[in-house]
Structures are given as C-alpha cells and as structure tokens.
C-alpha cells in the first residue's frame, strides 16, 4: 500500500514537472524554426530571428522597458523599506490595518487599475503624464505590495535582541538601522526589488492603457496588446519567433 502511494506521488510530481516545462521547451525550439509562423518544424533550424532582433525597433522598446523597470524597482524598494520599517519593525499601533492598506492594490485586477489611473490622470488635467511617468507610477502601485511584503517578512524575522544589544552599547537609532538592520534584511530587500523589476518588465495588462498611442508604433494589427513597450521588448528578449509572425 505504502509503495503504491509513494509511487503515485512520484508519478504525479513528474507529471506536474512535465506540464510546467513542456511549453517552455516548445517555445524555445520554435524560436529556432525557419518558418515565420509559430510552429515547430523539427528538422530545420535557423538563428536568423535572433539576428533580426538587433533591429532598432526591438532595441528601443527593450531599453525603454528596462529603464522603467529599473526605476520602478528602485522606488518600490525605497518605499517598501520605509513602509515595512514602520509596520514590521516598529510595529506601531494599527500596523495590521496599515499593512492591509499597503497590500490592497493586489485585490484589484490590473485592467481596473489601468483604467482607473488613466481616468484619474485625464480628469486631473495630467493627461500628458500618460506615457513614461504614468507607466512608472502605475507600475509602482503594482509592485509596491510585493516589495512591502518581502521586506516586511525579512524584518519580522529580524532578531530584536540584536537591536537591544546595539542600544545597550550606545548606538544611536540611525547607527542601529545602518549597521544592524539593513545588512541583515538585505536579501529580503533584494528579492523584493527583483520581484518588482520582473513584474514591471513583463507587465502587459496594465501598461496597455498607459502607453501613448502611436508612440512607439504598433507593429501588430492582429494583437492589440503588442502596442505596449513591455510586450514588445519582452518578446524581443525572450522569444523573437512569436513576434516575427505578426509582421
């Protein structure tokens, strides 16, 4: 009985693993196929789609998305650190409520957030913000909950006795934060910022609304989502083949 169950267990894990990796392998293989449709032709290989990526129209959005994602991850990291310090380290009164407010953007779908931000910007007379500044703001809203949660977890795990020891040796608050807290929670901060970078760099559903129409030009009439900077540079970086078929 036990043997059957553990056998079934291993089979189920192997199946799930196959399920997870199969499409990734297929896409990678398809990027080497010479046909301009997204298909697999197992006996012909080419790398010419990767060469095509060096064209300006792929490089420019790639750089733009990378710049936005770097900026977003830096700002989210700093803001997340500030918020997590109050909520998770100081644990001031009402920290649970504040935390759920900080995490509340997670509960709203990205479409709704996107439309809401555009609506707000246009009715507040800030329509010229649609474009890079709007994208940065929207992406921060999107990534801040993740950054806060990661950094707060790191701070919850921080041993308060270290802080007390620092206090008893006469270290000021700033010194304790700089030499004790920050070095210890550094991995949490980095993982929060990495998350923010990935989310911002890969984002499509929210970015669609905030990319200025016509700039950069939309290469694909068949799929509207392609008119965001993210998706283009993203496809550029990951899978050239998917895109080449839309020309």
């Amino acid at each position: 009985m036990n043997r059957i169950v553990s056998g079934l267990f291993w089979v189920s894990i192997a199946l799930v693993m196959a399920f997870i990796t199969l499409p990734l392998i297929v896409v990678m293989a398809a990027s080497l196929s010479p046909s301009s449709r997204v298909t697999l032709v197992p006996w012909e290989w080419t790398v010419r789609w990767y060469g095509d990526l060096m064209a300006r129209r792929w490089i420019d959005p790639f750089i733009l998305s990378a710049q936005i994602a770097i900026l977003v991850s830096l700002i989210s990291g700093v803001l997340g650190l500030l918020a997590a310090y109050v909520v998770a380290f100081e644990k001031c009164p009402g920290h649970a409520t504040i935390m759920s407010f900080l995490l509340s953007p997670l509960a709203v779908p990205q479409i709704v957030k996107g439309v809401a931000i555009v609506l707000f910007l246009s009715s507040a007379g800030l329509y010229r913000w649609v474009g890079t500044p709007g994208l940065v703001a929207a992406h921060i809203i999107l990534t801040l909950p993740f950054a806060v949660r990661m950094i707060a977890t790191a701070m919850f795990n921080f041993d308060k006795n270290l802080d007390r020891a620092g206090q008893s040796t006469g270290a000021t608050k700033a010194q304790r934060i700089r030499h004790l807290l920050l070095p210890i929670i550094k991995p949490g901060v980095f993982s929060g910022m990495t998350f923010a970078f990935i989310i911002s760099f890969n984002n499509i559903p929210l970015s669609v609304f905030l990319v200025r129409p016509g700039k950069p030009p939309c290469p694909s009439p068949s799929l509207t989502i392609s008119n965001t900077a993210s998706i283009r540079c993203w496809l550029r970086s990951m899978s050239p083949r998917c895109f080449s078929c839309w020309r």
């Binding site: 036990n2 169950v5 894990i13 799930v16 693993m17 997870i20 199969l22 499409p23 990734l24 297929v26 896409v27 398809a30 997204v38 298909t39 697999l40 803001l79 997340g80 500030l82 918020a83 109050v86 909520v87 100081e90 644990k91 001031c92 504040i98 407010f101 900080l102 509340s104 709203v108 779908p109 479409i111 709704v112 957030k113 439309v115 809401a116 931000i117 609506l119 707000f120 009715s123 929207a138 921060i140 809203i141 801040l144 806060v148 206090q167 990935i198 890969n202 499509i204 559903p205 669609v208 609304f209 799929l223 509207t224 989502i225 998706i231 993203w234 496809l235 990951m238 899978s239 998917c242």
Partner: protein, 272 residues
Amino acid sequence: MSMSSIALTAEGGRPVWMSRARQYLPLLPPTLLLLVFFAIPMGMMVGLSFHPQGGSTASLASYERFFTDDFSLAGLGRTVLMSGLVAICVTLMAYPVAYFSARSRSRWRAVVFAPAIAPELAGVVLRTYGWLIILEDHGFINSGLMWLGLISEPLPPAKNMFGVVVGLTHVILPFGILSLLTSLQGVDQNLEKSAQILGASRVSVLRHIVLPLTVPGIVSSMLLAFTMSASAYATPAILGGAGFKVLATMVYEQVLFTSTGPLPRSWRTCCW
C-alpha cells in the same frame, strides 16, 4: 515597543504625541503615492459607474444594463466557470509539489522546486505561446495524433475553454505552489512524527493530519487562483481568441476599441 518610546521621550525631552507621530513619518511617501495613484482613481471609478451618462444624478442604470444583457451575463458565466476549474486544477497539481518541497530531505528537492517557480520569470505571453504551439489545429498534439493515424480531422483543443484552462493553470501554478508551501511549512512536523510513532501509515498521516491542518492554505490558494484567472487577460486573449471570450477580454475590447460608454464602466466595477 513601549520601552523604546519611553527611551525616546527621555532622551529627547519631547512630548509623547510628537514621538508617536514621528514613528509614522516614514509611512508618508508610500501612503501618499497609494492615495494619489490608487485610492483616488478607484474611488472615481466606482463613482462613475453610478453616473452612466456623466450626469449628476446617481443611478444603477449601468449595472442594470450589465445584468440584463445576455451577452455580458454569458461572459460572466464563462469567467466564473473557467476560474473555478483553474482553481481546482492549480490546487490539485500544486499540492504534491508543495508537499514534496516542504517535507523532503532528498537532493531532488531543489531539482523539483526550481523549475516549479522559474517559469514565473518568463512572461505570460511566452508561456501561452508554448501552449498555442502544442494545442493549435496543426500543433503538436493534433499532428502527433494524425501522424499516428488515431484521428483524421484535427481536434479543436485551443480557442475554447479547455485551452484557456490549461494555459491559465500553467501560468498560475507557481503561485499555488508558493502559497501551499507556506501553509505546509507551518504544520508542526512533530505532529506527523508522533502519528507515525503511534503506527499511522503515511497515507493516514496525510489524510488525518496534514490535509485538515492545511485547509486554510488550500482555500487561500484556490481563492488566489480564482481571482488571478478571473482577471487574467493575455492567456484568454491568445488561447481563447474570438471563440472563448471572458470578461477580461470583453472589457479590453470595450475600452480599447469600442467606446467609453456606460456599459464598460459598469463592467469594470461590478465584476470584480
């Protein structure tokens, strides 16, 4: 906490309320940002949904239009059904992987866990295209089956509910694994050990101890999967296409192509 605030008043000689307020000072920038770019826009949107024609009188007209329109109701039904299926599939598939990652001491742990989470780094569209290649009319499965002579006409696996559920399950699975993992790690391993000492088999330990204790985790992973798939856009757009429209794709169509009329407005607020 009280100790440090006492220390603060003592060293600075400031009144207590001032040091209290200073505690909250670092919260100012993140809160301000969330208020301006999240809370106010969301409030505006909810407000707008009650003013269908941009008029000053509040009414439920846009909600009424949504709930009396067969087209929107069918979309709502499809979305709920699809999200429910995805939630069940994700949880069923994530549980063994999460259990293995939480309990195993073997060196296969990292081998299983890393690929389970890594797809999150690749984007949604990329992964969905993988499924499109596998599932489409002349894709992997169909060509394989036809080559084997099992079928003569291609089966239609993509562009319907099946394709979208498969794609979404793949996209959301890592989140399910992570959320179940946290809950499994929270179960005290001594409970399992003592049950084993008392002679319980592995199956009954799993059934009578681990499963009941992880019910909150199972519920939260199902809720997560449900909300994520109800609001997913890219996967249903690519795998479902025109044949299988869910609310998210319908909203995008309305917002991006058709109009900014009252109907999409009520969609945006009342469906989520």
